[in-house]
Amino acid sequence: MSRKIIPFIVAFVLVCLVMVVAGAFAYSGAITAEKFGSNVIWETPYTSAESMNVIDFTGDGQDELFIQNTSDVTVYDGSGTLLWNFPYSSSKTTMSDINGDNVEDIIVFHSGSGSSVDTIINGQQSTLATSLAIGSPARIVFIRFSSGPQIVLGDTSGSLLSLTSSGQPTWESSFSNEEIRGMDDAKIGGQTYLAAASHDGSVAVFDAQGSIVWETEQEQLRRMRAFDLNADGNSEVITGGEFGAFFIYNAADGSVLFNTSLGQAVSEVREVELNGDPSSREIVVGGKDGGVWAFTFNGTTATQIWTGSLSDKVTEIAGIDIDGDGKEEAVLGDESGNVAVFTENGSRNNLSTHTSGIMRIDVGKLGNERYVVIADVNRIETHKVNFNSITGFQYTPLIVGLIVSAIILIIAAILASIPAKPEMKVSFQDKSKESLTAERRMLKESIADVERLRKSGEVTGDAYLARLKRLRGDLADNESAYKTAGFPIKVETFQCPNCGGTLELGMDKCEYCGQVILS
């Protein structure tokens, strides 16, 4: 094939390859130029928030910001103005409509006159129960059982105490010996139950009478949450262990639907609708060493979608649809003050870093806008998170592919234009009969010389054969030159049919390749 064509064929193949890859990138949607940013709308000092929620406590249709730490319970309005502040000691809180006025109320489990429960309804603080037979506050939850609502308290020694909404104890349980680490409402056949878990790894589901529906043990755990991930009327109980065990239990019977080991303590678990498909819910898990995992649950089992990381222990996870595409992004904070947005495919986009560790993150509508509220060790910041993308950026692989292809073709054209290196064997041959005869004589003398050298032992083996082959080749060229010039010549050489080496007539075996010659 022509030396001028080969570079173009190679170039064509490469160009096709480049354009196929470019096309795959362009149309797969993998290439995007997107960024997330945030502006602080308002901020206010607040120390070490333990719980935070954006919710309407006044019934005016506008959400307020609830925040609580170990020393007080505070509510700000949408613009950051302080509405209420109540001092408490070692308090734990939950929010629910306790009085049935369709407005959320605050229920506080604190160490007041013994273990006590207060309510804050529309800014009015009142005591519901005091001197309760339960230890230091660990968790509180308001569960709407089918038989009626109950306030369930959990303490640091693993005991549970249930109260009616008027503060009368109904049942108690000491199902564990260590701190209650999670309480949540779990659905079984559409009915509401209580899922509870303690630090020693005990996980149980209770009915309205405090009877255990099922219980199980696992490694020490840090987090427990219950979600109905596939909206089938049965919740899934999700636990994260002290040593990385991640379990999803069926709330109905306690069977394990999924479990894996994440390799580090699970510090937070939240549900985030990452893919926008309501038939499957996604769970984002944060680790003590900064690991981030996203799982999707299809009703039967969970599948890991992606993994990522932050620089330090993940302290909070929240979901918000920042770019308005119907899919939530996961906003994560860590103990070093980093806040990052993880998208559906797990790409990480950093927001501004805080000078102290992130305590809580929540998402909600304050005023007319949806905000991400971030509480670090020293303050609360309300952020307006924004999203920017370059339109049409997904087609840049095609532009890059065209640039690369054009340069490949230019290179091919240049290489094709360079002439081939000349043959490094040149022959200067006079075509006169006298000259050809003299050359022939010289070649025969040289052949005789080589034979003499071989006989005397000066030249042996390959060197002898190589020299002989070259001289015989020259002799064959000489014969061809004779024939071409039309001079009579007695042919004395022939070519080996196997290796093409020139041999003297009459030889029955090729000296170069060992081929037996019959003709």
């Binding site: 640039i403 690369v404 360079i418 490094m424 064997k425 200067f428 006079d430 006298e434 060229d477």
Partner: protein
């Protein structure tokens, strides 16, 4: 830390590529040397069977042809460097995007593709480079030029000029093993063979032979550690022989003895080792321990060999 290492390795590769392309553009490449520590030359084999002028013209034409190939590549030598900078520009686009807060790597991927293409092109351009022609090439031309007036009218020079290399496997004349089972190869490279019928009726044959010695690489076991070590091949030296035969035209010359041209006498870089004047022929073999012998030495030796011939009275 691993990311830093990967970035470092990529940085070193890109920097190496930059200097490779820069040296390609400036045509600055390290001279290639052979095992003898000498510069490599263009390996060429010239078969000689023509009149001196045709041979000399042909040799010049061949040099020009080789140079033409090289110069055809020379004008494009800066292109790989330009392609490299196009790649840098693409990386800069990604850099600007990252500066504005957008994460992008697609332009960098394109840059890597371009850098690979630039490297391939630079390799091809370097391949079109030729080594210099051996001084023997020019020297042989000088010999032909000097002898052309002594040639019988319309006669041709016959022979060859073999500059393909003295240490080719096909030029191993013999091998010998020493007591330690190490193999030494003896090379015989008849790089110049020339035969010419001269104006005075004599027939002159000249052969220039380079004899070299090389010890092949071998493996030996260390007496102390017991480990096997491979020793590289070692060049052991070279010497040059010249063989001259003059078939004397008895009608013109008679052979005489000459005290200045006898075995053991130095003629330039050569020392005569054998001399025979029987059967109307002068056969002389001389050797030289020098690494290289120039064409002046060969011509001077031929001139000295002619001192054995005495022109008969008319």
């Amino acid at each position: 830390m691993p990311l830093l290492c990967i970035a470092g390795v990529i940085g070193v590769i890109i920097l190496s590529l930059f200097f490779y392309l820069l040296n390609t553009a400036r045509k600055k490449t390290a001279p290639v040397t052979n095992i003898m520590g000498k510069k490599e030359f263009t390996p060429v084999y010239v078969s000689i069977a023509d009149k001196p002028d045709s041979i000399m013209l042909g040799m010049d034409r061949f040099v020009k042809e080789v140079q033409k190939t090289e110069s055809a590549g020379d004008k494009w030598r800066w292109i790989p460097m330009l392609i490299f900078f196009v790649g840098v520009a693409l990386v800069a686009v990604d850099g600007v995007l990252i500066l504005f807060g957008y994460f992008s790597f697609i332009f960098t991927m394109g840059a890597f593709a371009l850098w690979i293409a630039a490297f391939v092109m630079a390799r091809s351009l370097r391949k079109s480079d030729s080594f210099d022609f051996s001084p023997r090439y020019k020297g042989t031309k000088e010999i032909l030029h000097t002898l052309r007036d002594d040639l019988k009218p319309n006669a041709t020079f016959l022979g060859h000029l073999d500059l393909t290399g003295a240490l080719l496997p096909t030029k191993v004349a013999r091998e010998a093993k020493d007591t330690q089972d190490r193999t030494t190869q003896y090379f015989r490279d008849e790089w110049l063979a020339l035969k010419a019928k001269l104006y005075d009726g004599n027939v002159l044959r000249v052969s220039a032979i380079q004899k070299s010695k090389k010890r092949k690489s071998y493996t030996k076991r260390s007496r102390i550690s017991g480990k096997y070590k491979t020793k590289p091949e070692k060049f052991k030296g070279t010497e040059h022989d010249i063989k001259v035969r003059i078939v004397v035209n008895p009608e013109v010359y008679k052979i005489v003895t000459n005290k200045e041209f006898r075995p053991g006498v130095n003629i330039g870089k050569y020392t005569i080792s054998q001399l025979s004047t029987e059967n109307g022929m002068v056969n002389v073999v001389a050797s030289s321990p020098f690494d290289e012998v120039e064409q002046e030495q060969i011509l001077n030796f031929l001139k000295s060999a002619y001192s054995l011939l005495q022109r008969k009275a008319a």
